[in-house]
């Protein structure tokens, strides 16, 4: 494991244990978040795919209709017919919070004088095919907006999932093992210090005992010597 630069003290040990607890709790929470986000994301993505296929198909028919219309009219007339729109679209955007990801919810209002009359041109100078095309586009527009909403949501969620996944992995494979390693290191170091202290005390005790023993021996020897010299019993030994 990586080189550990922690000071092996009890205070550090307590600190690291707290850190490990927090990291493990955070890891669990983030994992739950990731799983739930993933579930939502996959639902959204399925929806996006279905809707996109639908919209693309319908748009192609719309394009086809416009092609027919432009074949029947001159491009100037077509441009003139469409240049000034009768209705205007306004979009309101609100937010929905999915697992701390803000995703947009679109809602649009059209401002038009009457719902049935969305054609911004007079019928005299244009062909009927143009009406069909504009009508078809109007129908697909709602889906198009829904597509914008969920596709954007999917993108934003993908970003958030990626971030969360990285965090989970960083905690799981780096942060938590490193902390555990550091705790083990401190524990071992502290145990080692304990043993060292015990051994040192035993040694010191040995030395003191030895010293006092030798002192006693020397005293005895002195006494014996004194006894031998004077041939008198010493007052005390």
């Amino acid at each position: 494991m990586a080189n550990i630069t922690v000071s092996p003290t009890r205070m550090e040990l307590t600190r690291l244990k707290g850190k490990l607890r927090t990291a493990q709790r955070g890891h669990k929470l983030l994992k739950d978040k990731r799983d739930e986000l993933m579930k939502q994301f996959l639902d959204t993505v399925r929806e996006v795919r279905a809707l996109r296929a639908e919209v693309e198909e319908e748009l192609m028919t719309v394009h086809g209709a416009f092609t027919v219309a432009s074949a029947l009219m001159s491009s100037e007339a077509l441009e003139q017919a469409l240049v000034y729109p009768k209705q205007s679209v306004e979009l309101t955007m609100t937010f929905q919070n999915i697992m701390s990801v803000n995703v947009p919810v679109y809602d649009f209002q059209t401002q038009t004088r009457s719902d049935s009359d969305i054609y911004p041109y007079g019928f005299a100078a244009t062909s009927g095919e143009l009406d069909t095309a504009v009508d078809a586009l109007g129908k697909v527009f709602r889906k198009l907006l829904k597509l914008a909403e969920i596709e954007k949501s999917a993108q934003l969620m993908a970003e958030e999932i990626e971030k969360t996944r990285r965090r989970v992995n960083a905690l799981e494979y780096v942060m938590i093992p490193n902390t555990q390693e550091a705790i083990r290191y401190i524990n071992m170091k502290l145990d080692e210090n304990d043993r060292a202290t015990t051994i040192r005390l035993m040694k010191v005790k040995d030395m003191i005992l030895k010293e006092s023993l030798e002192e006693k021996r020397a005293e005895t020897a002195r006494a014996v010597k004194a006894f031998g010299d004077s041939a008198e019993a010493p007052a005390e030994v």
Binding site: P85, K86, T92, M93, L137, Q155, R165
Partner: protein
């Protein structure tokens, strides 16, 4: 407070002219460089959704990824008049790969 935003369509003239009839803001452009400038410009204004034709989107990955993680604008690719190129579908695939780390669907 609900603010109102605009919807824009960027693409070649034939592809976006229909949107004008619906009341969207249409910006006919002819090449990706022009489209890039237009989108940068639109992103600064009150434009929430930009529909962009796939034909133009081909050459402007940098701008698209720049706005991918922003809340606004949402750049949505639509098939242009020449037909779908599958870029929109690919983008979904890429989003999945990004989130999961592998292609699972």
């Amino acid at each position: 407070m609900a603010t109102t935003y605009r919807i824009a369509a960027v693409g070649d003239w034939e592809s976006v002219m229909g949107f004008r009839a619906l009341g969207l803001d249409t910006y006919p452009v002819s090449n990706p460089a022009e489209a890039k400038d237009k989108i940068r410009e639109l992103a600064k204004t009150d434009c929430a959704v930009i529909y962009l034709t796939e034909q133009l989107a081909q050459g402007m990955d940098d701008v698209l990824s720049r706005y991918k993680d922003e809340l606004r604008p949402a750049i949505i690719l639509i098939p242009g008049r020449q037909g779908s190129l599958g870029i929109g579908k690919n983008n979904i695939q890429r989003a999945i790969e990004r989130a999961v780390g592998a292609d699972i669907l």
